[in-house]
Amino acid sequence: MEKVKVEICCGTACYLLGAANMMDIEDKLPAEWSGKVEIEAKPCLELCERENLGGAPYVRINDTEVMAQATPDKLLTRIGELLGGAA
């Protein structure tokens, strides 16, 4: 994949349940990914009120994929997979 878009939810529930630890995720990206990952913060992905999605914090990847209970490690691994194992 050429480019990965990541939307981190910064709404209350996600922030309290772990999104706060992802605020500096940019600094953790390996140099070779530079230009290939686009990170955005979102007010509330409106996933927190839905049931059976796995729990906050949520991150949306490439507009369609939802990662529940996201952590910096999980997120970095998934980005790596999408970029074709570059990590």
Binding site: A41, P43, G55
Partner: protein
């Protein structure tokens, strides 16, 4: 006069009086020897200011000054004639052992919306009345002298105080700054120096708030004197103008059908709008067709709260309840905004710049806040907003309205 809130149609029709003061304490003293007090008598639409400079400096001067302002405000409020009030004040001030007198100067301002203002001064530098950059003389002024205290002349003035006008009152720590230390200012900065400075500031920034102008004057007085503050410095500014209205939208409306109308409340100009809460921002995105943009740098430096976003042409967006909670504690404890996390600071600074704060509150409860995994109790939006409103009114003399959706 320029309408200061071009988009706040209708709601800006009435006038707002902004009363603020800035002070610096003489270097080395623990207490300021000047005191400034404000009082608004809502029922009478009446606004009072008392500024007093106690003899000497430090705690003793502070006691003299605070006693004077406390009594003066009460007497003004109760419509006791100036002469009588002055005599009671003078008779009750403690006598200084060294100087054998009890003494504190004062400047009093009394204004009823729609009427004339009355200013009484004793011993302080003469007030300055500006309409734009033009100085306005009093309609009339006269002296009153007490029989008990024949050497204490009180100057009384009747003043035509109109929308857009400002009154500046200060202690002699302002007008005498630089005295004896600056060769170019033999008699200090003087009233004429303060007047020229204020005019120049207003020329550059015609809408400058009372808060910023009083601070600019006090800072300048401080800067003129090299090596610390030689006397207590106090400057009070009263500014009569159309209110600057700000709106805080927070929480989704109870009925979804009301989203559109709710979102329309955000069309007041980007300097005047804060959306507090993720769902709120989403509603504005949908209804107004804007995007919330968060800069990555803001994510990193948010300082313990979720970052702040901007909605082009609409305003700023922050997280909801955590941010509001932080704003509340800062307002209740009167902490300066500068040290707060970015989002709370942005809201607080906006609140300070505005006179009237309108809360547009959606009352739908956010179910996700009940998630048992969340490590802290989240308060209800409505009760936090009510406490914010109370703190804004009590500690910052703001006008606040609450509208529920």
């Amino acid at each position: 006069m320029a309408d200061l809130t071009p988009n706040a149609q209708g709601s800006a029709a009435d006038l707002f009086i902004e009363m603020e003061a800035a002070q610096f304490t003489k270097t080395g003293q623990g207490a300021c020897g000047d005191d400034v007090r404000f009082l608004t008598v809502e029922k009478e639409n009446r606004h009072l200011v008392a500024l007093s400079d106690g003899l000497g400096s430090g705690v003793k001067a502070n006691v003299l000054a605070t006693m004077t302002t406390a009594m003066a405000i009460e007497f003004l409020k109760s419509n006791i004639p100036t002469l009588e009030a002055v005599e009671i004040i003078m008779d009750s001030l403690p006598i200084c052992e060294v100087r054998k007198i009890g003494y504190a100067t004062f400047s009093l301002f009394d204004f009823r919306l729609g009427g004339k203002a009355r200013i009484s001064e004793m011993g302080n530098p003469g007030y300055i009345h500006l309409r734009g950059v033009e100085e306005v003389p009093p309609l009339k002024d006269w002296q009153v002298v007490s029989e008990h205290w024949p050497d204490r002349e009180v100057r009384e003035c009747e003043v035509d105080f109109r929308a857009g006008d400002r009154i500046i009152m200060c202690s002699d720590g302002v007008t005498q700054s630089g005295l004896g230390v600056r060769k170019d200012m033999k008699f200090g900065w003087r009233r004429s120096g303060v007047l020229a400075f204020a005019r120049e500031r207003i020329e550059r920034e015609p809408d400058i708030s009372a808060r910023d102008l009083s601070l600019a004057i006090a800072r300048q007085a401080l800067n003129i004197t090299p090596g610390g503050c030689k006397d207590d410095i106090s400057c009070a500014v009263v500014y009569l103008r159309h209110p600057r209205v700000m709106r805080v939208l927070t929480g989704p409306p109870y009925y979804k059908e009301n989203d559109a109308e709710y979102a329309r409340q955000a069309l007041l100009g980007p300097d005047h709008i804060v959306a507090c809460g993720g769902t709120t921002a989403n509603i504005l995105e949908r209804e107004l067709g804007v995007k919330v943009k968060v800069r990555l740098a803001d994510m990193k430096t948010a300082g313990g709260l979720p970052p702040i976003g901007t909605m082009e042409g609409v305003g700023i967006a922050t997280e909801g309840i955590l941010t509001l909670g932080r704003v509340l504690s800062a307002l209740e404890q009167m902490r300066p905004p500068e040290k707060e996390p970015t989002a709370a600071r942005a809201i607080l600074e906006r609140m300070m710049r505005h006179d009237r704060i309108e809360f547009i509150i959606g009352t739908k409860v956010n179910e996700s806040h009940q998630d048992p995994n969340i490590p802290q109790d989240l308060e209800l939006r409505r009760s936090v907003v009510k406490r914010i409103a109370a703190a804004l009114e009590k500690n910052y003399r703001k006008k606040v309205t609450l509208n529920y959706y």
